[in-house]
Assembly symmetry: C2
Homo-oligomer: 254 residues x 2
């Protein structure tokens, strides 16, 4: 624990000093990154904007190209910019991408789940809160196209092999979250599902149980298709509770 401030040989009270967050001096690459991020978030650099090349960018900030590059690495790892090579390449401000956000949140959650602070049961509780409500909303708002997507997701064959095809399939729960028309719900729910799925990898669940799951999905899909919001919500709640039982029995969560 080297971060301890020197409480050395003081005689009397060690002087409270409150919060001596000295802020040191932020490294140059961080300052450059922060400045650029601020400009991007403020809208001064709209999506698609091409930044100056690395050498010029460095000159503009009074730093070397390497430093400018490190700043760009930071921004690009946060998906604020992306770089392309070749003539006509360069660094461009990214279009905001919900899928990317879901990914990031999911991986951040993945880290937290390893700690005692965030238990898998917390995720299940959150899911139990979120998805029934999502089912209700989906039932209330379903347009025909969305209904069809949900039905398709519920009917999709359970092929865990062949992970490449099935671009549009995703998962029933994902599809349902999206069917609410509220992106925020997807953003909150999807990472939870992702984490749970990776945790459940190869738990010994038998085909008979999967059939039951599929049946639930189809039932919920029908409720939604018919606009029976209350039934959809309740069915989803039961489904999640059932899933939770499965997780708690077979889930290998350390």
């Amino acid at each position: 624990m080297p971060a301890q401030p020197p409480t050395s040989g003081t005689t009397g009270a060690p002087a409270p000093v409150a919060h001596l967050r000295v802020q040191r001096v932020r490294p140059a690459y961080r300052q450059v990154a922060d400045e650029l991020r601020t400009q991007i978030l403020a809208g001064a650099l709209p999506a698609g904007t091409r930044l100056p090349n690395e050498a010029e960018l460095g000159r503009a900030f009074g730093v070397s190209r390497s430093t400018a590059r490190e700043a760009l690495r930071v921004l690009s790892s946060q998906h604020l910019v992306e770089t392309h090579r070749g003539v006509q390449g360069g660094t461009f401000v990214s279009e905001p991408d919900p899928a990317r956000v879901v990914e990031d949140v999911g991986s951040a959650l993945g880290v937290l789940v390893m700690t005692p602070r965030l238990h898998v049961s917390d995720l299940l509780e959150a899911r139990l809160l979120l998805e029934p409500a999502a089912a209700r909303l989906a039932a209330q708002r379903a347009d025909t196209e969305t209904v069809e997507a949900v039905r398709a997701a519920a009917a999709a064959p359970r092929d865990d092999r062949d992970p490449s095809g099935f671009v549009g399939h995703l998962d029933f729960h994902t599809t349902l979250l999206m069917a609410t028309g509220n992106l925020m719900l997807t953003l909150m729910g999807q990472p939870v599902n992702d984490v749970l799925r990776t945790r459940l990898r190869r738990a010994g669940i038998e085909a008979r149980e999967w059939d039951k799951v599929d049946a639930c999905h189809r039932e919920i899909a029908e409720h939604i298709a018919e606009g029976r919001a209350g039934d959809a919500e309740e069915a989803m709640r039961d489904h999640i509770v059932e899933l939770r039982r499965l997780y708690e029995r077979d889930g290998i969560w350390a």
Copy 2:
């Protein structure tokens, strides 16, 4: 497109080739970052581990120090590692930090809110879904210490000035989310609140309205203190609906 397999002297159709997502070649700094991330997430490098210094790390991966550094910048901007200077400095695997995650999610949301895909009304709907349930859970689980924290947050003077003090105060809604004992709920709800707060910056809301808000907070706090889960939930729902009205009237959301 040099990755094209030599479809050379084929006479007929140009060969569909399906999905030739050649993935190009990921840059070295990305490969290094991905490899390290994988090891960290797999638990092979537990929090607190000190990585080799940049030069050695580069040697270990067969890349130069600059490349290794760029990889570390990526990881550190994702809060997977942090670097310190000086002897005994170096790069260390970070302890997972929920507050950091909340920050990240919040800023990611901030970006998305600028798009038409994610509207502020979506945030409000999500909040209306989340916080009443949180109030219910808090009422069900409240231990005396938590109750006290919630009460304190509700009673806290509304000092928008003096942003430095009040380290423990935060916000009533934040405190309540934490009072559920389910970190996941905080993780989902807090970024929403953050985004809403920044959007509402300096909306012309009068003192009388703030008094009303505070009254609601105190009422909810009391419901929770007394363990009246249903009342807490309902009061919170009313409160959020009321807040939504305020936002919709005064909120300056583009």
